[in-house]
C-alpha cells in the first residue's frame, strides 16, 4: 500500500501555508512530520485524510485506507471503554477489539465510562481506536499529547507492530518516539511564499 503525495499545497483561513509537499509512504514505513507551530502539520494531515480538499496537488492511495486521529479522540463520555471501541470497530465493519485493549493496556479500564478516564487514559483509548479500524495507513496528529513515558513506549510498540504487519504511519509530532526506523520530514522548507489562496487570487 503506497501513499503518494504530489506537489501538495494547503491553505488555512484563506492563506497558503504549505506548498510543493511531495513524499511517498510505503507499506511498513513510518514518516514523522516536523516543524514549528503553525507551519501547517494539522492542515496537511487533514488534506491527506480527505477532510479538506487540497489547494493544488494530489494525494493517491489514501481512499478508504486511512485511519485518522486528531487532537480530539471522538470518545463518548457516557460509553464505556469497550463500548467506544466496539462502536468504532463496527463502523469499520470489524468486531475484534481485544488486541487493541491489550496493546494499550486498557484491560483494567474496560468497563469504566470514558468520561471518567484521565486525559492520558483517554488518549490511549483514542489511539487504541486506530487498531480496531483495520486500516493500513495511520495518520496521526500529535498522538503523544498527555501520554506519560510508559504510554509513549506502548504507543511506539503499537506503531512498530503495525508497521511490521505491513501497515504504515504518518505522524506529526515533536517528541522522540524511539522509532529508529522512522523517516523524518521537516516541513519548514515547504512554507508557502506569501500569497493568498487561489480562490482569492481573483480579487488581487
Amino acid at each position: 500500500m503506497v501513499l503518494t503525495v504530489r506537489d501538495l499545497a494547503v491553505t488555512r483561513g484563506g492563506l497558503a501555508i504549505l506548498e510543493g509537499v511531495s513524499f511517498e509512504l510505503n507499506a511498513g514505513e513510518a514518516l514523522v512530520l516536523r516543524g514549528p507551530n503553525g507551519v501547517g502539520k494539522t492542515t496537511l494531515l487533514r488534506s491527506i485524510a480527505g477532510l479538506q480538499p487540497p489547494e493544488i496537488g494530489t494525494v493517491t492511495g489514501a481512499e478508504d485506507q486511512i485511519a485518522y486521529a486528531a487532537h480530539s479522540d471522538g470518545l463518548k463520555a457516557m460509553l464505556s471503554v469497550t463500548e467506544n471501541l466496539t462502536f468504532w470497530a463496527s463502523v469499520f465493519g470489524l468486531s475484534d477489539i481485544e488486541h487493541a485493549i491489550e496493546a494499550f493496556d486498557l484491560a483494567d479500564l474496560r468497563n469504566r465510562m470514558a468520561g471518567t478516564l484521565s486525559a492520558g487514559q483517554k488518549r490511549r483509548l483514542g489511539l487504541a481506536r486506530l487498531m480496531v479500524t483495520g486500516r493500513p495507513i495511520w495518520v496521526l496528529d500529535e498522538p503523544t499529547v498527555s501520554l506519560d513515558v510508559a504510554s509513549v513506549a506502548l504507543f511506539a510498540d503499537a506503531v512498530r507492530g503495525h508497521l511490521h504487519n505491513g501497515g504504515s504511519a504518518l505522524m506529526a509530532t515533536h517528541i522522540d518516539l524511539g522509532l529508529a526506523e522512522a523517516r523524518v520530514l521537516d516541513l519548514t522548507p515547504f512554507k508557502a511564499a506569501p500569497r493568498t489562496r487561489q480562490m482569492d487570487e481573483a480579487f488581487l
Binding site: 492563506l15 506569501p194 500569497r195 493568498t196 482569492d200 481573483a202 480579487f203 488581487l204
Partner: protein, 242 residues
C-alpha cells in the same frame, strides 16, 4: 468574448462603474415619473377610491420581492456550478434589497387591506407567502453574516437558497390549500390586459420599470462593495502573513 468574462471581479467593477450612472439616472427618471404620474394624475377607481394609487408601489415591490429571490437562486446555481465569485457576492448583495422589497409589499398591502377588507393583516395565502419569503430572506442574510470563511459562507448560503426555493414553492402551495383568501387575482396577466384599464396600466408599467432599474442599480453597487470588501480582506490577510 463570452458573458462569463464579466464574472471577473475587476472586469465587473470596471464595467458596472461605466454603466451605473446611467442606470441610476434611468432609475430616477422612471421612479419619479411613474410615482408622480400615479399619485397625482390618475383617476380614482370607482370601487376602491383613491387606494388604487397604492398599486403603483405595491405591485412593483411585490414583483421585485419574488424576482430578487429568483435572481439569488440563479446566482447561487452559477456559483455552485461555475464557482464565479461575483455570482455568490451578487446573491449576497441582492438579499437585503429583496428583503426591503418584501417589507414594502407587506406594509403597503396592510395599508391597502385596512380600508378595503377592514383588517391590517389577514392570513391570506398571498400575504402569508410573503411573510414566509421575508423569513427566508432573514435566514439567508443571517447565515451569510454568521460564517467567517467567505467561500464556506457562499457554499452554504447557495445550498440554503436552493433548498429554500423548493420549500418556498411548497409553502405557497400549502397556504393556498390552507386558506382560500381575500386577495384579488393577479392584476397583471398577458392574456387579459383588459382587467386593468390603460389609465392605470401605463403609469404602473413605468413604476415597474423604475423598481427593476432600482434593483439592478442597488445590486451592482452592493456587489461592487462586496467585491471591494473581499479584496480588502484578502490584502489584509496577505499583509498579516508577510
Amino acid at each position: 468574448m463570452s458573458l462569463w468574462e464579466y464574472a471577473n471581479p475587476v472586469k465587473f467593477i470596471r464595467t458596472t462603474d461605466k454603466v451605473l450612472p446611467w442606470v441610476w439616472a434611468l432609475t430616477g427618471i422612471c421612479l419619479v415619473t411613474g410615482l408622480v404620474w400615479g399619485f397625482f394624475f390618475t383617476p380614482d377607481d370607482f370601487r376602491q377610491g383613491s387606494t388604487v394609487k397604492i398599486i403603483y408601489i405595491h405591485v412593483p415591490s411585490a414583483l421585485m420581492a419574488i424576482n430578487a429571490w429568483l435572481m439569488m437562486l440563479v446566482a447561487s446555481l452559477i456559483w455552485i456550478v461555475r464557482r464565479h465569485h461575483v455570482s455568490a457576492l451578487a446573491a449576497r448583495a441582492a438579499a437585503p434589497v429583496g428583503a426591503v422589497m418584501t417589507m414594502i409589499a407587506l406594509a403597503t398591502g396592510a395599508f391597502w387591506g385596512q380600508p378595503m377588507w377592514g383588517t391590517w393583516w389577514a392570513w391570506d395565502p398571498r400575504l402569508t407567502s410573503f411573510l414566509i419569503l421575508f423569513l427566508f430572506y432573514l435566514g439567508y442574510m443571517a447565515l451569510w453574516e454568521a460564517i467567517e470563511n467567505d467561500d464556506t459562507a457562499a457554499d452554504l448560503t447557495s445550498i440554503l437558497c436552493l433548498v429554500g426555493s423548493v420549500f418556498a414553492v411548497l409553502s405557497r402551495y400549502a397556504v393556498n390549500f390552507w386558506n382560500q383568501g381575500l386577495h384579488q387575482g393577479a392584476t397583471l396577466s398577458l392574456d387579459k390586459e383588459e382587467n386593468i384599464s390603460d389609465v392605470f396600466w401605463f403609469p404602473l408599467l413605468v413604476c415597474i420599470a423604475g423598481f427593476v432599474l432600482l434593483f439592478i442599480a442597488l445590486v451592482f453597487l452592493r456587489t461592487q462593495t462586496e467585491i471591494r470588501a473581499r479584496r480588502t480582506r484578502a490584502l489584509l490577510a496577505r499583509e498579516g502573513q508577510a
